[in-house]
Structures are given as structure tokens and as C-alpha cells.
Symmetry: D2
Subunit: 323 residues, 4 copies
């Protein structure tokens, strides 16, 4: 009760701020990524009202002055702009369209910025429902990882009209460095999914080729050097080489810790696979790559960096096939 | 008969030149690539003795002053250095070790530079046999295509001892710009095969992702732009994008003509697949990529540029599934 | 025993409601399969009330004495037992749970028999909702094709409790010959999806092996004979061989017409792929098989029998790779 | 030396016997399979002269009265009929065409029966060389495993002319029950390779489907029962089900021990892959299956029965992805 009362008071305060000319920003989803993003908005001088299912996550933001809401609906009642950062499509549907969801209380004219990575079809579906409430929703998935979220250097891939993109840009610039307009609603997700499709495939490709070359007698640094000055050049070889020791600061060199987990890559490849399936387009290597990451995760390596596929794919040293 | 007599005379002349301090260079395999390479050696002032199964190919070089031999053995009898550029492992075995092959008449101390792309095991096997004749063989496969061969800007990936590499370098520099020492005999082929393994995989990956993105509503140039500034960045997207219109001068934009044929990519992926098989290492995406190019070739597209996989993989416009 | 007695009484009540003493059977989805199934129920003396989006489909049944309803809701208002045969999960959700759907007007105690092939998760979800309306839903997907539907010789794979299975059996026996109890709700779909997963994979396997053998000089009938008496023996080789001419009455021999379309196999493999994905289990060959059928459909062959993969996979006769 | 002298004497005796109307049978390769085959020939009253690299293997046969030779050449000098059972193509080439090989001393008119499983191209190549020595070689690979070899119930798939097949049959019938004429030289290998291609693919298919079904709640025996009465029916499900407990006497039920090792399946799939590659035919599932067995072997499971792929493919029980 007390906390409800407290919220009621806070609510009035917020209303007050909100009408004083400064927009109130709602933030829902304060995990590894969202927590840093919300913090950066506060650092840039914004007032926030936040919600998360974890009290710890909420408290970290409350300590920095964010107002606390008890549900997405309560956020939406107050906020002029809402940023969401959620794990998957199902969470986005529930936070926006579910009971006590954003759309149940949203104010006309609210700007909705979803930076979750979800399938493009869901992004369009939820944006359509938001439009029925006269709210504008843009899909703004990110790349850059937890490090980029903390440093405020994320890349945002934004789907929405040119006009809406201009409205969203100032807020996104508080959290990222590179804000790219991809096209209409949904294309932010399309860009993210397609980018990570290439990334997953080329990481496996580089892993297979590095392993093959090393087993056939080549020095790994020399082999990577040839790749990087030739037609095998790619981000996975040059900046994130999966062979331990090739790069001083790679995830591979520190035992495949940190970085971008295999389970996350598996999720993103799954989005690509689903999207292609929904329109009947073949995705041969995409599917094979997805299966390989599914196997890596099934064997308990989902938490390790996605470059661990290098280690996973190679022949065991102790060959006990002849037992 | 006359031409034999003529050759005999030329032969004597050559011997003379050859002992005058200037090495005589043999060149075997004067096709699309080798023809240009031989021409560049002549341009740099070298004397050549050449052989090819095609008279037309031979005549083009003879017109520029090259001596003509009737067999690899006849080349080897005279030359101090021999460069070979042949289609596949079987030709290399035959030209070096067959009847009337190079090793049947080779002079001790001859330097053998094989710029064919073949499997590393064959490269090592033939080099071993050459060593039994006190000749030194290095594997020097190239990248850069017909354009690079003509312009003399090829990259050579060289396998052999450091000392032998230094001896080979001046000759290779007449034909290429970037001469890379990869390690011991065979590693030139390893580097080439591994490089093209990554290339084939990433070309299919980029093709699948560009197709998926475009079909889901993205502008192809914008999508490629995002790839090229993010973690999907790779040679296949940046310099050789398979989607027509994205790059002004790509093979894709000119109807997948010219460039590097699908049949050649299929051959190189086949070398990777065979090499991995011979040592029991898995090659998941490599095998899938090889199968895809096998299918592309089986359907009659082997002569088109390897980026044609973009066109091949997509759904037909006239969907007659509901017939 | 008591509960059986009780059921007997309930059954009589139902009989009574139906007015003539005979239960009224609703049938929704009167396409290629459902039309024949409904006809067989009429032939066995049942009274039907039917709905389909196509008037032609409805009229064929009306001509045989079926009552016509204008919506699933109108069917459900009257029927004691409802059979549905729909194309995919989305249709099942809509026909049962949508506006004017079955559950909007359903009578307590109604027996719901869904013979559509859909994903097991949706089957369970809809059955749960039916239970909230005190109705009992069983998943009863079929095998046997249009021929089996017409002849009344379908196999039904049934998911539901043992008691409910006994209630459903008399109705299913009017439409099929082999009524198999698979386990709890959803397992009928599981059995169907897993069966067709093996079927799709083995059809491709037999196609690849028959093609390879024939191209290497074997007589196709002799090769099939060896398979069928050895460890390659399978339904796809023995009863449905994809090589034209091996079996007199196969789809292959009549130009891949009739039979089970590639688009349907693609759909069923898609269900397997989705189910495995939802629980994180790898499905390597299942995914490759799905991609191959996706490609077959993308090239416009979705309407041809699924054994057409034999024709699709092989090398073109006119090899124009050397153009 | 003494034993050489002894052999010399025996040699004379053998010649004598050999001309007395009873053919002397040479046997080379007395391992797990060949040892039993040779024993069965002796049991049927044949005189044998044998060679193997292992003295233990040779001694077992010598104890039963077989003459011992020191090389394939020494076998060939004496024998009228020679049976070989060797691990792979390289051994066949060496035993027949190498130094001290069969062809170096072979008598005109000798009948050569190679029951090794090798690639069809090598089978034809060696048969051609034998023909140059006026000897007749047939490829006679077997199925039936060590059990069948011991019991004399092997299936022989025989490639050669109809007349030669008739000459070979009486000898093969001493070692097997089912002697199948496949066509010209090489087709015995083609049949074997194609059969095992289907076998490997369907074993993985059944494994994936059994695993999927069980994880989705189905009883494994019930699921197998449905497969075996429906279109998923195949040898791998019915007689060799990979799910432990489904069949009482399967390799799966006894911990994947005994049976046909994964490394052997990997070898046979490799022959299929190579054969398809050599003629440019696609082999999508065949390649994926080969890669999967390559991975199984790379992880040290090559010695376990090939149905172990069921165990290998599934998700670990202890899901530590969330670590």
C-alpha cells in the first residue's frame, strides 16, 4: 500500500516534470544491456521512469534518480518517450500488448523505441498496434555488445519513417554513436538479423579454415595475415579471430570468455532461419550454421563466446577411435 | 621435321644464352593465367622456353620471342628455372612425373615454381620427387585472377624453405606484386585452399543475407552499407557484392560474367573438402558450400562468376507452387 | 466401471439432444482430404453439419444431405462431435479460438477431433482452451493421402487420454482403417511430424543413392532390388521409389504427378524443424532436408510429388559448364 | 631361411595339387572379416595359401592347414583363385599392383575376387590392370558384418561379366548365402557404396526423429511401432533402432558396443562422397551425413556402433548454457 502511495506521489511529480517542457523517458528492461543504456540517458540529463522484473536492476537506476514504476502500463501512463530492451519476441509482445502492457495506458503521440532484437514480422505487428493508439513505434536493435552499451557507443539500426527517425535520433544519440536509418518499420530488425547471419556464417567459415590450415602445418598468425590481406578478409578473421593467440585481446585468447555468447548467436541465427522460412526463401548455410550453434549449445557451451566454435569443431587430440 | 631441326638449332642457342649468365626460364601451361604470366616474364627481359598443349597459346608467346619446346621434358633439358601453371593435381603429376615429364630430363639445381592450385599433399609429394633429382620445387599458387595475371599484380603464396623463397622471389616479382612466404613446402597450397574456403563460404553467406534482407523490404545498397561498417564486413560484401547494382563494377552488376567462375570455386572448395577428409577434421560449412557450388555447376552455371549463387538461391519470381 | 456407466448415460443424453437419437457430427474443412472424410461419415450413416470457405466444397456435401452452417460457431452450436481438417496451425487457431470460432459457442461435452497436421505445441494449446469450455479435443493427424481419404483407409495417429481415445475411435473408424493411440494430447502430432521427418530424409537419401548408382553404371531396378533386400531397405525405396521406371505405379513413373506434393513435405519438415528448435535439440539432416525441399519449392516444383527431388538433384544432361 | 625352404617345398606340392584338378585358393587379408571367410573356405574342403601382415592372423589359418606365403606375389605364383579382403583402396592398389604384389607373378587365367569395400573407380582400374595379365578380377564387397562372415551368411555384391560371375559363384557360396550379380566390373562396389549411403542417412534420420519424439513426450517403443507400420519404415528403425531399449538385442541396447563402427560408416560415406564428386553429382544429405560421422569420429566415438549418433546428437541432460 505504502509503495503504491509512494508511487502515486512520484507519479504526480513526474506529471509535473513531464509538463514542464522536458520529456519524461520510460525505460523497460534494465538487464546487461538496458541497464547501461538507461544510465547513459540519465547522464545526458534525462528524467527516467523505469520498470524491470528484477528489483536489483531497478534499484541501480533508482539510486541514480530514476522514478520506479510497477508495470509497463504504469510507465506508459506517464512517459512521453519509451525505450524497451527485452530478450525476445515473446517478451516484446507481452510488454507492449499484454495485460498491464504499454498499449493499455499509452498516451497519444508517445514515441516508442524498441532496441530488442526480434523477428521483423513481430516488430511490424506491434508497431501496427501502437499506431492504432496513435503512438509511433520504431525498431532500433543495436550492435556493440555490453561494452558498447556501457560506453554509449552502440550502433542503432532504425526502422521507421524518415520523419520519425529524426524525432528518435536525439534519444538514440544519448546511448549510441552510430545511428543508421534502414528504412520503414521492421527494417532495423531486418538489418540486424541479416548482419548477424553473415557474422555467424563467416565465424564458422574462418574457424574451419583456421583449423584446417593449422592442422596442415601453417602458422596461425601467418594464415590469418594472408586472409586479412586477401579475399578471405572479414571481421571474424581480422578483429575477432577465433584461433587462440592470433589476436592479443580476442575472446579466443582469453579462453572464449566474455564477448557474445553462442546462445545469443544461436538465437539470432534462429531469427534469420524463421524469417526466411516465413517467405519461402532458401537459407542453406544459414541453416547449417544455426544447427551447428544449436549443437554447441546442446553440449553446454552456450554461455561461451561464439568463436568457441573453433574449439568445438576440431578433432580431439587424444584420438581414441581405435580403442 | 623442319620444325624439329629448327628447335634443335634454337636449343643450341638457348644453351649458349643460358650459360652466358642469364638464366633460361621454362614455362609450361600458357592458358588464361599462365599466358599473361609468361608474357610478363618476357617484358621484364627474361628469355623463355615454353610448352602448352594448345598451339595457339604457344604461338602467342613465340611471337614475342619465346623458344618453343615439344614437351615438358624438352623444356626441362634446357631451363634453369621452370614455372608451371596447370589446371589440377592430375596435370601437375603428369607434367612433372609422367613420361616426357619435367623430372625425366631435369638438370640438378633447377628451380621449380608451380603456381597451379592443387592439393597440399600432391604438392609435397611432387616436391619430394624433385628433390630426388636434386631440384628444388616450391608451391606458389596465386590469387588475383586473370586481371591480376595480366597486370602483373598477382599475390603469390609460397611454400618452401626461407632460402629457397629468396631465390624464387625475383622471378615471382616479375609476375606479381605481393609475394608471401607461408612456410615449408605445401603451405602455399594450404594458404590458398584455406583462403578460398573462407571466400566461398562468405560469398554464400553474403548472398543469403542480401537476398533475405531485400525480400524483407530493405534497400540492397543500404543493407550492404550496414554490413560494411559492422561485423558482417567482408571482401565478398565490400568489394565483390553479389547483388546486382550494389557495386558499379562487380561481376553481379554485369550479369555474373567475367570474374572467377563457379566451377573454379567448386574445384577449390573440393580441395579443402579433400584435405580435411584426409586428416579427419570436420568441415561442416565447407562441405555445404561445396555441395551448393556442385549443384550450381550441375545446373549449368559453372562458367558464370561464383557470385551467381545469389541469383541461384532465390525463389523464382513466378511462383508456380500452387499450380 | 462407474465412470464408464456415467459416460454411457451422458452418451444417451447426447443421443437425445441430437434429437433423432443419433449424434450430429460437425465437419469443418472440406478440401481434398476433408471432403472425402466427411463423405465417408455420411456413407456410414452419420448426420453432418458442415462448413468450409469454399461454396463448391460445401455444395458437394449438401448434395449428399449434409446441413450447411455459415461459420464454425454455427457448427459448434449444434454438433455433438466436430471433426476439423485444416491446412496449418494458423487456421486451426482461428477456426477454434477466433471470432465466430468453435469455442465461442461450443456445448459442454463436445468431442473435438482435429485431423489437421500442425505443430504439437499448438495442438496442446488449443486442447487446453477447449478443456476450459468442458470440451475434449484430440489431435488425430492422418497418413494415407487423398487416396486413403477417399477409400476410408487412412491411418489416424491419436493424442489424448485412453478413455477419450475409446470415445473417438468409432468416428475415426468411419474414415480410416488403422487407428493408433500415441499417448497424451499432442502426441498424435508428434508421431505424424516424426514419421514424416524420417520419410523426407529417407526419400532424399534414396534419391541421392539411386542417382549416384545409375550415373556410375548400375541398372536402377537391380540397385533398388539390392536396397530392398539389404540394410538400405525403406518405404521410399520399396513402395515409392523416386527413380522413374523402377516401380510401375509410382509417382516417379507417371512424371511425379499426383501423390504427396513437395510443398506439403516442406510444410511437414518445417514443423519438425520448428519443434526441434523450440526445445533446443539439433536436427542436422532434418534441417538440410527442409532446405532442399524449400529450394525445390522456390524453383516452382512445390506442386509435384515429393519424390521429384530425384529429378531435381541430378546434373543436367546438357552440361554447359564449359560454355 | 628354413621356412623359406619349407615354403619352396610346399610350393612344389601345391603346384602338384593344383594341377591335379583341385584349385588352390589364395587368401590375402585375414583380419576380422577375412579370417572367418578363409576359415569357411577351408571348412568347405578347399586348399588355401594365405598372406597377412599379422603373424597371429596367419597362424590361426596355418593351424587349420593353410599354406603360408610371405607376400602377395608368392600367393599369386601358386594360386588359381585369389580372394582379397583389405581395409581400403590404397591397400588394394598396393597388394595388387605394388612391388611384390599379386600382378607381379600372377598366372594367366587366375580368378581374382576382391571383397574389400573400395571406390568403384579403383576397382575398375585394378581390374583393367589384371586383364592386361590375362587374369579376371571381380569386385565382390560384402554386407553382413563379422557375424555374417563367421556364420558364412554374407551377402556378396558382385561386379563382372555374367560368365565370370558364374565362375566366381561357387567360391563365394562357401562364404556367403546371398550372391548378387550387380552388373559389369565396378558395380559391386557401386551397389555397396549406394546401399551404405542410404543406410547412413536413414540411421541419422531415425535417430533425429526418435530423439525429437521422445523429447516431445512420446514413448519410444510406440513411436518406433508407428514408424515400422507407416512410411518411415526402414531397416534402421525396424531391425537396428538406435534408441536404447526399443529392441532387445540392438547395439543401442547394449551401449552401442559391437555392431558396425562409426569409423567404418564414415569410411563408406566418404567413398560415396568421393564417387559423387568425381562425376560432379550433388550429394546434399550424403555430405551432411558424412560430416556428422566425421564429427562423431573426431570426438572419439569412431569405435562405437554407428547408431551411437542417436546419443551424440541429443542435448546434454545437464544444461549448463546458463552458467
Amino acid at each position: 500500500m505504502l509503495s503504491n502511495r509512494f508511487n502515486q506521489l512520484m507519479f504526480n511529480n513526474i506529471r509535473y516534470y513531464s509538463t514542464s517542457g522536458k520529456p519524461l523517458i520510460g525505460f523497460i528492461g534494465l538487464g546487461n544491456m538496458g541497464g547501461h543504456q538507461a544510465m547513459n540517458l540519465i547522464k545526458k540529463g534525462h528524467n527516467l521512469v523505469v520498470f524491470d522484473v528484477s528489483k536489483d536492476n531497478v534499484n541501480r537506476l533508482a539510486d541514480k534518480g530514476a522514478k520506479v514504476a510497477q508495470s509497463p502500463a504504469e510507465v506508459a501512463k506517464q512517459a512521453d518517450v519509451i525505450v524497451t530492451m527485452l530478450p525476445a519476441s515473446a517478451h516484446v509482445k507481452s510488454v507492449y500488448c499484454g495485460e498491464n502492457g504499454i498499449l493499455s495506458t499509452i498516451k497519444p503521440g508517445t514515441l516508442l523505441l524498441d532496441s530488442s532484437t526480434i523477428d521483423p514480422a513481430t516488430a511490424r505487428e506491434v508497431a501496427d498496434k501502437a499506431a492504432q493508439h496513435k503512438a509511433t513505434m520504431l525498431d532500433c536493435p543495436v550492435s556493440g555488445g555490453v561494452g558498447g552499451a556501457e560506453a554509449g557507443t552502440l550502433t542503432f539500426m532504425v526502422g521507421g519513417s524518415a520523419g520519425d527517425f529524426e524525432k528518435a535520433k536525439p534519444y538514440l544519440e544519448c546511448m549510441g554513436k552510430n545511428i543508421v536509418h534502414c528504412g520503414d518499420v521492421g527494417t532495423g530488425q531486418v538489418a540486424k538479423v541479416c548482419n548477424n547471419l553473415v557474422l555467424g556464417i563467416s565465424m564458422i567459415g574462418v574457424s574451419e579454415a583456421m583449423n584446417l590450415g593449422v592442422k596442415l602445418g601453417m602458422d596461425p598468425k601467418k594464415l590469418a595475415g594472408i586472409f586479412n590481406t586477401s579475399s578471405a578478409r572479414c571481421w571474424s578473421s581480422e578483429l575477432y579471430n577465433p584461433c587462440p593467440g592470433v589476436l592479443e585481446n580476442s575472446a579466443a585468447t582469453r579462453g572464449y570468455t566474455g564477448g557474445f555468447g553462442s546462445a545469443l548467436m544461436n538465437k539470432d541465427l534462429g531469427l534469420a532461419v524463421d524469417s526466411a522460412k516465413s517467405i519461402g526463401e532458401p537459407l542453406f548455410l544459414g541453416n547449417s550454421a544455426h544447427q551447428l550453434y544449436t549443437l554447441v549449445c546442446a553440449k553446454g557451451e552456450g554461455h561461451r563466446d561464439f568463436s568457441v566454435v573453433y574449439e568445438y569443431l576440431q578433432k580431439n587430440n587424444q584420438d581414441n577411435n581405435k580403442k
